[in-house]
Symmetry: C2
Subunit: 550 residues, 2 copies
């Protein structure tokens, strides 16, 4: 593997560890816990892993020093810092006992089921310290949720003498980690399962988890690019840039990027839903900003759009639900077949309710067509194929032309489009993520040594210097409730959406009128790994605001 | 202006200056020069600025210390380092004499014609040192080429007592700077004109100019993103990423990014043209790489595509030329009008030659339609609207399906698309660009003090430590020849295309077979402004290879 100069220099970085993890530790247990919702149902589903206490690690005189073989899995989409979770875990299990071994299952949870694995050695891990990506063992999206998968898994775990499995993933993967923990506990298989909170989307957080790893680095990478685009836009003064960022279920990324870069407009899906906005409301909101700036002679600006916005507009959500319904054959549950695209469109139009038809017809023709025609293998409308940033700018253009004809707008409108996602998921972790992830991994080894299962590795107080970070564990059941998924009730970790009464959104809301009208751009620049601490070690503004540190 | 932590820390950076510029200097003149082509014609067009010697600055005992008022213009697209050219120029003219003043004309060359300007003060320039963007005075694309513009310009120059004008721009802007220099010299207006070589495209270079500024930073920014995408692609192992980068006239950016990141495929427009490749040849080349990697079980990869590729494919170039011809009314020279889109398409198809029709019909239907219909205000086909990266991936998909049906391909093909341009044009300059630009600007003040006009500011030997850099000036006429532009012969600076026998391309060509088949990705990471010199101060691989330093 040929390495860049930065990669070579960065390999030498020693991630910071909380003081509490630097020597021997013991688990200090809190009170019994309850799930965040549906306590009775969750307790019934997880009799062996429900109600366990939150734990915090505190210094001890000595530790359990038996060798322990551990397995690790990277699950789902990449997030910066995954390699550091593994290197922290590696150093952690080796610090317990040098004879301990760490095995990585390949290409995600599927590796456990298919018995594809490799031992993680000193030489190997040294190639990956402080690097981005999940390429050390690869990642995948196989869902661990069936008994036969669990049984296939135990075969290889026994063969390798693995006593604990660490699953690094988002909310779904951690839910499944808990199901697996419960299953192995019920069967008394003697294998612990520990989760780690990963996702760039930032929607796996709660009172116990300050942030999911990768959010910091990904948002900083997107903000670098948004800042660069804003500087361009403020130099040539002729384009409105519509910038879509990842985040289908929640708008944390869009909001964090807006806090970092101060664009003219940032849409927040949760607000759109709460205010019951229509697509026209959203378009009008943007067009208003364009028209207001045009009055000041500023025919340029930036709009940040969260990937999931369309699905949060209630009228469109309703339309999509009905499209999915009418395009499915109720007799078979299979997607309906049509002789031609035209026939399919005619069928759709004659089958949906009048208000849904009105919404469909309010969309640009090609988007409406795409919504009626393109379906995924399950027969569902493919909302993600819609290039929302282009849809919005076209509708803004149409609205502005109308306003111009009415004498309400006198500017020029020309748009550019961007979508940032893959650009940030595998960036080399920022100091924050490098330290946080390493600590999460190292801490996981202590949860294992303490005999815990069904816990997620957590590190709290991360806006303080790393020395003061508080490592521990939280029972995964504590974060669960029952939700409807694919037509069935399931125990799941509750996703953290942007809270409209939370400090980050309130900060944005209290500044957005000024940012909309006046050019107030901030240019964060690229992530720095060397240099002054105020440049290299700052956390996200979301976290700083949540903790009252800004 | 609210500043990011990085911006505040970076403001303190003191760009390096060549040793030769640190004290008093004098111009050491070389021999009389000739233009690179059409010597007779260029000499006739530029009687006052032709044949001047190349100059180099060497230490002197003392300097001309008279105050001099200078004007500066940012022309055309943004490039990282523009603010440092201005800060170098500012410090340079102030070091000559504290009473000197620097005026910036606003929003590009149009500011000179429209008399829009501002004085650049100490306080102002300090806000912009080492920052990206052209927002200090804005930029614009007005072309200075007409006598009435020159006369409008001299009015304001006289009013402000400006004796020298520095134009920061690409090849066209520097050509126009020379035309202006010649005009003012012929009229004995007593105003010098100096150019500075700017463009992220890297196509303004020659024996005298090592590189155009901004190329370094822009390529590093794109390479950061390409590296991140490659790491993602190497982690999830399921997508082929088609990444288009800026560069319509030349492929230097694509090539430099390829050298930095080692993708599976990089297209080079100049090679496509020289080898007379068809679109099918290009598609086959990519499909072959996909199929070969699929044989090894690797259904993922990266393809870098220069923005201008389509126009370099000879058959498409010919088709476009004929489309432009038949869509113009020969009687009026105006775009032909049609009653409907269908009528327009029918007319096109019946009017073009059989081989052009065959090429048109080989394109995906919507692209062919777009080519026939969309025209710019001059009536020209809008090639730049074609999303080349998507066009190529769709055609590769079609080709692979055909191969699959023939049993020649057994993989899965799924594509993602990216286009990077605005993301890099206004990044904060790398150390290389910060130093190079500051030196170019500072050096321009010495060309002014030496009484030069029609010169471009140059700094050579930039792969050596900055102390050893060689500052000087080159007569702009030396870089000119006569080319056909918009139906007329014009004196222009010859654009530097990628040379297929040059070291950068040869390095790529000698490695590409391995890179195509084997995953050989390099992850450069973001530009670093602090930290080890091998990380922060490296130049582009293009330059290093050209100078035999790699």
């Amino acid at each position: 593997m040929e390495k860049s100069a930065l990669q070579i220099a960065r390999a030498a970085y020693q991630p910071k560890l909380p003081k509490a993890l630097k020597g021997a530790v013991k688990a200090k247990e809190g009170k019994a816990t309850e799930s965040v919702g549906n306590q009775k149902e969750i307790k019934e589903l997880f009799p062996n892993t429900y109600g366990m206490p939150v734990v915090e690690f505190v210094p001890a005189e000595s530790e359990n020093n038996e060798a322990v073989n551990v397995g690790v899995i990277l699950s789902g989409g990449q997030a910066p810092g995954g390699h550091n979770v593994i290197s922290g875990l590696f150093d952690g299990v080796k610090s317990l006992n040098k004879e301990s071994k760490l095995y990585g299952f390949l290409m995600g949870p599927g590796g456990l089921v298919d018995h594809k694995y490799m031992e993680i050695t000193d030489e190997l891990i040294d190639e990956y310290r402080n690097t981005g990506g999940f390429d050390i063992i690869g990642s995948g999206r196989t869902k661990l949720e069936k008994v036969d998968q669990f049984e296939k898994g135990i075969e290889i775990l026994r063969k390798l003498g693995i006593k604990a499995l660490v699953i690094i993933g988002g909310d779904d993967s951690n839910t499944n980690a808990c199901v697996l923990a419960e299953y192995y506990a019920a069967k008394k298989y003697g294998v612990q399962v520990i989760g780690c909170p990963k996702t760039i989307d930032g929607d796996l957080k709660n009172e116990q988890i300050e942030t999911s790893f990768g959010f910091d680095t990904a948002c900083k990478t997107y903000s670098e690019l948004i800042g660069n685009i804003q500087r361009d836009c403020n130099s040539s003064r002729k384009y409105w840039h519509f910038i879509k960022v990842m985040g289908r279920s929640a708008s944390h990324i869009a909001l964090e990027c807006a806090l970092q870069t101060q664009p003219n407009v940032c849409l927040v899906s949760e607000e759109v839903e709460q205010k019951q906005m229509t697509l026209d409301d959203v378009v009008t909101l943007i067009a208003k900003a364009v028209a207001d700036r045009a009055e000041d002679g500023n025919n340029y600006g930036t709009v940040i759009v969260p990937e999931g916005i369309i699905e949060f507009i209630p009228a469109i959500k309703k339309l999509i639900a009905q499209l999915n319904e009418v395009l499915t054959d109720p007799a078979t549950g299979e997607p309906r077949e049509f002789a031609s695209a035209e026939e399919q469109i005619a069928f759709v139009k004659s089958s949906i309710e009048a208000d849904n038809l009105a919404v469909l017809e309010s969309l640009p023709a090609d988007v409406a067509r795409q919504l009626c025609l393109d379906r995924d293998p399950h027969g569902n409308v493919q909302v993600s194929l819609i290039e929302t940033e282009k849809l919005l700018s076209r509708m803004v253009d149409t609205k502005l032309k109308q306003w111009k004809s009415e004498g309400k707008y006198c500017g020029k409108f020309s748009a550019q489009h961007h979508f940032f996602g893959y650009e940030g998921r595998c960036a080399a972790p920022s100091n924050y993520d490098a330290d946080y992830c390493y600590s999460l991994g190292y801490n996981a080894s202590r949860l294992i040594a303490s005999g815990k299962t069904g816990y997620m590795s957590i590190v709290k107080n991360t806006t303080a210097p790393a020395d003061e970070w508080v490592p521990g564990g939280v029972p995964i059941t504590m974060m669960m409730n029952i939700e409807r998924r694919n037509g069935a009730n399931k125990p799941v970790i509750r996703k953290a959406l942007v809270e409209l009464d939370g400090a980050p959104f309130k900060y944005y809301a209290s500044h957005r009128d000024v940012w909309a009208r006046k050019t107030s751009y901030v240019y964060p620049g690229p992530i720095q790994y060397f240099g002054p601490t105020e440049v290299c070690d700052r956390c996200t503004l979301t976290l700083a605001l949540e903790q009252g540190k800004k």
